[in-house]
Structures are given as C-alpha cells and as structure tokens.
Symmetry: C2
C-alpha cells in the first residue's frame, strides 16, 4: 500500500448510550469496568474499532458483546475528540445512542463476565472518561429529536396504549402534556394503527392498543412528510 501517512495515530473507540424506559423513568445501561483505568466503575458500554469493521459495526458488536443487545435502533451521536479524554493514550471515541424496548431487554446478558445494569438517567453515578458529557449530549439529542422523528415508539412494546405513549413523551421531555391535545396530535399524524385489542391483566378499565405504522411512515417520509408531535 503506497500510503505516506505513517504518523502516530489516535486509537479509535465507540461508546454507546443505551436508553430504555420502564414504568417509572428513563434508564441508561451501564457496564462495570473489568480493567483499569477506572476498574470497578460503572461506565458506558464500548470498545475499540477493529481495522476490518466499519465504525457502525463496531458499535453493534460492542452492544452485543457487552450487553447481549442486538437488533435495536442505533444512531451515531457525536465524535468526542479531546486530546486528554482517556488517561491511557490518545483515544477518539465515536459515540452512539440506542433505544431499546425494556420489556425485551430487562435482563442484560453481560457476556464477558462484567456486570451490566440499568440506572435511572436522572440518578446516574459519576462516570469515568468524558462519559458524563456523552450521556448529556445523548439526552439532549433524544429530547431534541423525539418531537420531530417517530423514535419514541422504539422505547415501547410493539402494541401500546395512548397513555403509555404519552408517558414516553412526558418522561423524555420532562414535562406534563395535556392529554386531549396529545391524543389529537398523535392520532393526527395518521401513523397509529388502532388495533382490535385491549390491554390484558390490568386492574383499571382495559385501554385500546395501537401500533406505529412504520411502513406508512417510510412512504410518507420519501415524499418529504414531516413528523411532529
């Protein structure tokens, strides 16, 4: 390979902010570090990019290896490139954020013998490296995107009630929304499929279940349709 760039190269890593939502609040998945630096500290799942995989593939691989999480919504967030962000060496990290259905991922499989656990986003421990900053940026992105892209559905089971959907938005946006107005807006998108089913095993009156019409959204998106809630 005739390539003249033989200077010292920064190492390249990926880090993932994985969001889930349970009955109480927005959660973030953390991994207990098995090695120094910061051994024993909770941190974001991540690792180094291999020479023969794309950066996106590295993020998916690390999520699978460290948390047993596959086939989820995953998007690139931002690249963190400060010189001294890692005490070991020059490491640049491409951060991603993922949205998972907690019902599918309540039990986290930590395959390489490290602990993994969900923490409330509002009560995270202090994280090593610049992981606090990465989580902050991911939260801001989520709050900025949820009203303009149909990503809130990624946090819900496939079939959900309008009350559950409203709680997704209220939790992410950290504010109470008017029920009537919210329902008008979400139903007005024309993207909710009303099912011939109601919730099961609830003490209160069982509510109607809905699904997000992803196929129709993809079609509308091509025509420049703007989702807004």
């Amino acid at each position: 390979m005739a390539f003249s760039y033989e200077h010292a190269r920064p190492a390249l890593a990926v880090d993932c902010v994985v969001f889930g939502l349970d009955d109480e609040d927005l959660k973030v998945l953390l991994i207990q570090r098995g090695v120094d630096p910061f051994q024993g500290k909770w941190a974001l799942p991540g690792g180094f990019v291999r020479i023969d995989e794309s950066v996106d593939e590295a993020a998916r691989r690390e999520l699978a290896e460290e948390a047993g999480i596959t086939r989820v919504f995953l998007e690139q967030l931002y690249t963190f490139g400060a010189v001294a962000r890692d005490p070991r060496d020059r490491v640049v990290s491409v951060a991603y954020y993922a949205l998972v259905k907690l019902s599918d991922h309540r039990v986290v499989a930590a395959t390489d013998a490290r602990e993994a656990a969900w923490f409330a986003a509002s009560e995270l421990p202090s994280l090593p490296f610049d992981h606090d900053e990465i989580v902050g940026k991911a939260l801001a992105r989520l709050q900025g995107s949820v009203r303009y892209r149909p990503i809130g559905f990624e946090l819900l089971p496939q079939k959900f009630t309008l009350t559950q959907l409203q709680r997704v938005y209220e939790t992410i946006l950290e504010k109470t929304l008017d029920k009537r107005n919210f329902r008008k807006k979400v139903l007005g998108t024309g993207l909710l499929l009303e099912l011939d089913e109601v919730e099961q095993d609830v003490a209160h009156r069982a509510a109607r279940l809905y699904m997000f019409d992803k196929k129709r959204y993809r079609e509308l998106e091509k025509d420049g349709f703007l989702f807004e809630i």
Copy 2:
C-alpha cells in the same frame, strides 16, 4: 503508558464542507488534490488528525492551511467510518461543516500550492472518496437546522437587508417564501437589530440594514428559548 490496545489502528482524518452564499446560489469550497489517489480531482478540504491536537482543532487547522479560512462557524457533522471509503488504507473521517461570509472569503488562499475554488452546490463535480455522501449529509443538516437555529446569519455580511436574509432561507430551503410572512416571522423573533443605516450603492431604493443580535440570542437560549422561522 500501560495500555494493552496495540492492534492495528484506523487512520483518523477530518473533512470540511464549507458553505458560502453569493448573489446567485449556495456555494461549496473544493480543493484540487495535489497527490494521489485522485490527483488533480476536486475534493473537500481535509487531512489527518495529529496525535497532539483535538479533532476540532484538526478541522480548524486544515481549513486554515488549505483555504486560509479562520474564525468561522464550524460544527461537527458526522463521522464516516465505512471500511473501504479510502483506497489507500483504513481511514475514518470526522466530517465538519462550516458557514462563511463569502464577502470575507471571496478570494481563497490556497497555502500549500493547491487550487481552491467555490462551486455551486447544485452543480458540483463528482467527488472522490465518499465526499458526495458527505456533502449530501451537510446539505441535509443545513436545511434541517436553518429554521430552528440562527445559523443563516453566518452566511451574510454583518449588516444585511431583509431581502438578503430571505434569499438565504430561500436558497438553502430551495423554495420561494412569502415576503410578508417571512418578515413577520424574522422580526417576531426579536433578534434583529434595526440599524439607522441603509444599503449603499444600489440602483433601486436603498433598503434598511439589520444586524443579528447574537448577545441577546445567547441570553434567551440559556432560558430555553426556541428560535424558529
């Protein structure tokens, strides 16, 4: 340094999409490549990240070295990490986009003996590497951001007319806007300072000049103010 990561590392580069706006259209700055691969082809300015500079610093340095451009609006766009995006070697590129006042940068200083020139965004030559994709992503980001962040002002001289401002939005959004409605919206933000000056050297009736009140915007932004046009 006790650091066990000694695998092959991807090289890390930056590439910059520099936008400017003249009387006719949106322009992108390209550099004629001085070396192989793609010697002689027009491409985005960029280069490798040095071990002792942040990724942001690398982008600013490359812009200064390759185009003589300093002190401009510059933001990270996206990191392009496909395995085969560079025929020489594994190179991951952190892309940035910059907005410049063309009046300040009409003459581009190519310091390392390479040609630099502005091309209409709608008529770019086919670019090497994945630079077409990078430009496409930058255009989409610009179109998606201009209505919600006061970045359009970065493309204008410090003092501008409302007609010039409208043309910025029309050029970026690629559509005609209603004059009355546009003026109502921009003046309604409370962020335009009406100056006691009018345009000079124009054949038509000289129009009022305005400035963007950046200081006030910074204050409002802290309180969660949302810019929208």
